[in-house]
Amino acid sequence: MTSQVVEAAEPAADGVHVVIIENMRFSPAELTVKRGEHVVWINKDLFPHTATANSRAFDSGSISPNASWSYVANTVGNYSYVCTLHPTMSARLTIR
């Protein structure tokens, strides 16, 4: 649930994948990572979003504007996820 402000221009480190939340979309909408890597969602919209697996395998809780949420992809699987606040927003994270 911890959120921290991230500089927009911060480059992703090795083993760190970034998903930008902006314009009511997750970008990229499909992301595949290796087990143990980190995924960081950065909210660039003007209001909160969440990144929540339909299975609830992960759930960011509310990510404030200009804040981010980091997740360690520890469990192999194929996860559809949504913003629980905005039901039109969905994407997919594959961990292998």
Binding site: N23, M24, D45, L46, F47, P65, L85, H86, P87, T88
Partner: protein, 175 residues
């Protein structure tokens, strides 16, 4: 009923700008944006306390949060650009439409309130979206103001789809 609401809302918002092909000026656009967000925040606050169904309450809370976020950004940008909001026929119509909506919602309760609130949200978001596309984005002179309008447009699209989903579920549930 829904069509009537949509027409009324669209007329209210576009009435002043769609006529002679005159596009609003930046100070007018700021006033329209701030008023449009504020009337939906006010309706959302009422619905947060009065709505019967949980999903309607949740939607109302979301509208308050999202439109407050947009409005704070719009106000900050206007201050930065030193653009003072200029009240105009469109912003006044929006305010009057918002006041009228609040008055009629206050007289309702339960499932009737939920349906009326959600019906109005569908009409309102459609009308604002039309205004954004037809008057506000084409009219905006300042690049940052135009960029803000372009940035918030997807939120109105998503809110409209969300409100339509709710509308369909309320009809389906008979609630």
């Amino acid at each position: 009923m829904k069509t009537t609401l949509a027409l009324v809302a669209a007329t209210l918002i576009l009435g002043a700008t769609a006529g002679a092909g005159d596009l609003p000026t930046d100070p007018q656009i700021v006033a329209i944006v701030v008023t449009a967000n504020q009337v939906d925040i006010d309706a959302g606050k009422l619905a947060e306390s009065k709505a019967a169904a949980k999903e309607v309450k949740d939607f109302a809370k979301l509208m308050v949060t999202d439109h407050t976020g947009v409005n704070n950004t719009a106000k900050d940008l206007a201050a930065k650009l030193k653009v003072a909001p200029e009240s105009n026929a469109t912003s006044k119509s929006l305010q009057q439409g918002g006041d009228k909506n609040l008055a009629s919602l206050k007289a309702l309760s339960g499932a009737e309130f939920d349906r009326a609130y959600v019906d109005h949200e569908v009409a309102y978001h459609q009308a604002v979206l039309d205004a954004v596309d037809q008057a506000l984005i084409p009219g905006a002179k300042n690049a940052e103001l135009k960029a803000l309008l372009v940035k918030v447009r997807p939120a109105f699209v998503a809110h409209l789809a969300h409100a339509k989903q709710l509308q369909a579920s309320l009809v389906k549930g008979g609630g």
